[in-house]
């Protein structure tokens, strides 16, 4: 028999017993809803759910169906006993047995939850003035199962809704899957990529050359002046004709920044961004690699490297002059 895997369904018998002790017990004692059944809340529900049946708001229509007055939508039974938003996000008192069960499930690693189904049985319609209370009992805590979400247990409870006389008006069988979240394998590709250049007719040649690991500088075909960043016209002689020269890769450091904040997911902070002066004479913004910030000096020699940042982006970066790439 092989050793159990990390997500084994084998479990501790003592733990099973503690879970089993919850079955049949009361998670929530009979608890009255904060407000009686009332027309304003019915109206909100009807509008939000876009219900068209007139029996919920129109007394005449309700009477025409043999009812004494308007009736609350059946599915609203849960709404009358909800504890409200504030109490949900900021529970004040100890949440009691329910929290004990949640804690016990968490002890078994079942820290995630998803609701799977809700079976509602309606025994009578609620009318304005009804006071509804609810109690909840654990019906079943299932054996460990492997699901698409991860290994977990189905927990089924029964909620019983009663009116002021204690008569049952509805029951709700409520099932959730309590599970261990599956650890996702690390993605093969980094999730963040460097900010993209916006390629257009004026600059595409430069990024195309970079993909071939060629650092080019735009050159005026007429007067020979070099220019960077690229542009459509020579600012020296207004010529529209241009070609490129390929830089030899020698440069000196002109200025730099050690970037600490803000953190960008594509960069490991702190990182070095520099202005370098190419031997050809033009400047370039780049990153420095294999260099410590403490060792940088204005004018120090640098040598070109290439960074294939991702399948769509290759950038020239610079390292120490005395090291080959």
């Amino acid at each position: 028999m092989s050793a159990p895997a990390a997500d084994s369904t084998a479990t501790d018998p003592a733990y099973e017993q503690r879970l089993a002790a919850f079955v049949g017990t009361e998670l929530q004692p009979p608890t009255p809803g904060p407000d009686p059944v009332n027309v304003p809340m019915i109206r909100h529900w009807v509008e939000a759910m876009e219900l068209t049946n007139p029996v919920h708001l129109d007394a005449d229509a309700a009477r025409a169906t043999g009812r004494a007055d308007v009736v609350a939508p059946a599915a609203m039974v849960q709404a009358w006993v909800m504890r409200g938003y504030a109490a949900t996000v900021r529970p004040t008192a100890s949440a009691g047995r329910f929290q004990e069960l949640v804690d016990l499930l968490a002890e078994g690693g079942y820290t995630s939850v998803v609701a799977t189904d809700s079976d509602l049985e309606i025994l009578r319609e609620l009318v304005p003035g009804d006071r509804v209370s609810v109690e909840e009992v654990v019906e079943e805590i299932g054996p460990e199962k492997r699901t698409g979400l991860g290994v977990g247990r189905f927990v089924t409870t029964l909620k019983t809704y009663r009116d002021a006389e204690g008569e049952v008006v509805a029951t709700q069988r409520w099932r959730t899957l309590r599970f261990r979240p599956q650890e996702k394998p690390a993605p093969a590709e980094p999730t963040a990529v460097r900010p993209r250049p916006a390629i257009n007719r004026d600059n595409a040649f430069w990024f195309d050359a970079a993909r071939e690991h060629r650092l080019v500088v735009q050159r005026c075909s007429d007067c020979g002046a070099l220019r960077h960043p690229p542009g459509p016209m020579c600012p020296e002689c207004r010529s529209l004709a241009w070609d490129t020269v390929t830089a030899g890769g020698e440069a000196v450091l002109y200025s730099w920044v050690v970037a600490h904040h803000p953190r960008h997911p594509a960069f490991e902070s702190p990182y070095l961004v520099a202005v370098v002066e190419l031997a050809e004479g033009t400047r370039l913004i780049t990153n420095l690699v294999d260099l410590d910030a403490a060792d940088l000096e204005v004018g120090m020699p640098l040598r070109l490297r290439w960074l294939d940042a991702d399948p769509d982006l290759t950038l020239p970066v610079f390292g120490p002059a005395d090291q080959e790439d």
């Binding site: 460097r194 900010p195 993209r196 250049p197 916006a198 390629i199 257009n200 004026d202 600059n203 960077h228 960043p229 600012p235 002109y254 200025s255 730099w256 920044v257 050690v258 970037a259 600490h260 904040h261 803000p262 960008h264 594509a266 960069f267 702190p270 990182y271 961004v273 202005v275 033009t282 400047r283 370039l284 913004i285 780049t286 990153n287 910030a293 204005v298 940042a309 982006l313 950038l315």
Partner: protein, 395 residues
């Protein structure tokens, strides 16, 4: 010298108004704009229905038509919007002065209103519009892929060169921050009211874009500030002493590339600022020696040093010595950023500084120098296409 520009002293800032400055206004930028415009008009005692012009600068998210609609302003005959964000902070006042002096409009309102802290923060990296395939944001192609993403990082290259060339230190930059927080500490409207700092606080603040520390960077703020510009003649009949617009200029320098003009001969000089300075002195018939106080755009402390030099208050490389001499203090030769600047009061993209210059001319700053204030220089951001003003008392 005498004024040579046709619009010099023909128009004045007659009203200033602002919302509170905060880190979370809790209301829309549009509403902040409306509130500040109303406050400025109330300050000037000019009716809303008299407004016939708006002048703005970019990165304003509230179009003049939206503000005009909300305020019930029936007609506008003049509206303009200057590019380049904070560099253009003073340019709308030039637009307003030109419009008023030429008779195109009678009451022009300038405003900046944003939730720059609780909404989109400029310090968090490029906005979504940064990645368009046209020429408007083209410069970003050459910086963003390397992680040069924020104004702080873009300006750090200049700061590094300036330190290298002139021997300025991080503590020299820090002196600006300490002074601004000292002014802010006595300004109830300032975010850093009653919270001065020491140079040790500056030196121990974390690096953001080394060599720039956290306390070299201005705040990020929510708020709105508006100004009302009318003719000098009209302004003389209004309740406050007019702040005459004696100089107002814009400037773009050689091979200007937004905030990343790294391909010029020297990146530690700012030719666009020098160009603005020359125009101002010519228009106003003044020189730096006649400027009594200054509001210098302080998004980042190193730029304040460079501006002192470009505007001729000292020689190149000597700004650190000028600051150390106490010249920028309230009793100094040139009190600077008496409201606490954008480091201390709030970052309202420079427009709150224009309001402080108006208060200095009126004599109502919370940090009003004892000496007479006749001429105040106000500058926009650098090193970007730049703008600045000289406001003058009406003598």
């Amino acid at each position: 010298m005498s004024p040579t520009s046709g619009f010099s002293r023909q128009a004045a800032i007659a009203g200033i108004g602002a919302t509170e400055f905060s880190k979370d206004s809790g209301r829309s930028e549009w509403r902040l704009a409306c509130e500040s415009v109303l406050a400025a008009l109330a300050d000037a005692q000019i009716g809303v229905e008299e407004v016939d012009g708006f002048a703005l600068f970019t990165m304003e998210t509230n179009p003049e038509i939206a503000v005009a609609r909300a305020l019930g302003i029936p007609e506008l005959t003049f509206f303009s919007r200057i590019p380049h964000g904070g560099g253009g902070a003073c340019a709308p006042v030039q637009q307003a002065a030109l419009a008023v002096a030429s008779g195109v409009a009678d009451v022009v309102v300038v405003y900046r209103a944003f939730n720059e802290r609780s909404g989109h923060r400029f310090g968090q990296g490029p906005p979504s519009f940064a990645y368009v395939h046209n020429t408007d944001q083209e410069y970003r192609n050459w910086i963003n892929p390397y992680g040069l993403l924020t104004p702080a990082a873009q300006e750090a290259f200049l700061a590094r060169r300036y330190m290298h060339k002139y021997g300025a230190t991080s503590a020299d930059f820090g002196a600006v921050s300490v002074l601004s927080r000292k002014y802010a500490a006595s300004n109830p409207k300032a975010w850093f009211y009653q919270r001065p700092i020491t140079i040790e606080d500056h030196q121990s603040s974390p690096m953001i874009a080394d060599p720039m520390r956290l306390l070299d960077c201005c705040q990020e703020s929510d708020g709105g500030q508006a100004l009302v510009i009318v003719s000098a003649e009209r302004a003389r009949d209004l309740p406050h002493r007019p702040a005459l617009i004696s100089g107002a200029a814009q400037g773009v320098g050689p091979q200007q590339i937004s905030m990343s003009s790294y391909y010029r001969d020297d990146i530690d000089a700012m030719p666009e600022v020098e160009l603005v300075a020359q125009q101002l002195w010519r228009q106003a018939g003044l020189g730096p020696q006649e400027i009594d106080a200054a509001i210098l755009y302080d998004a980042f402390t190193p730029m304040l040093l460079l501006q002192l030099e470009e505007y001729g208050f000292c020689e190149r490389g000597e700004a650190k010595d000028l600051i150390a001499s106490g010249a920028l203090e309230i009793d100094g030769r040139l009190p600077v950023n008496t409201h606490g600047g954008q480091l201390g009061e709030a970052y309202i993209h420079g427009v709150n500084g224009i309001a402080e210059a108006v208060r200095l001319i009126r004599g109502t700053s919370v940090n009003q120098p004892a000496k007479s204030i006749d001429n105040v220089l106000v500058t926009g951001g650098s090193p970007v296409p730049h703008s600045a003003l000289v406001l003058s008392a009406d003598h």
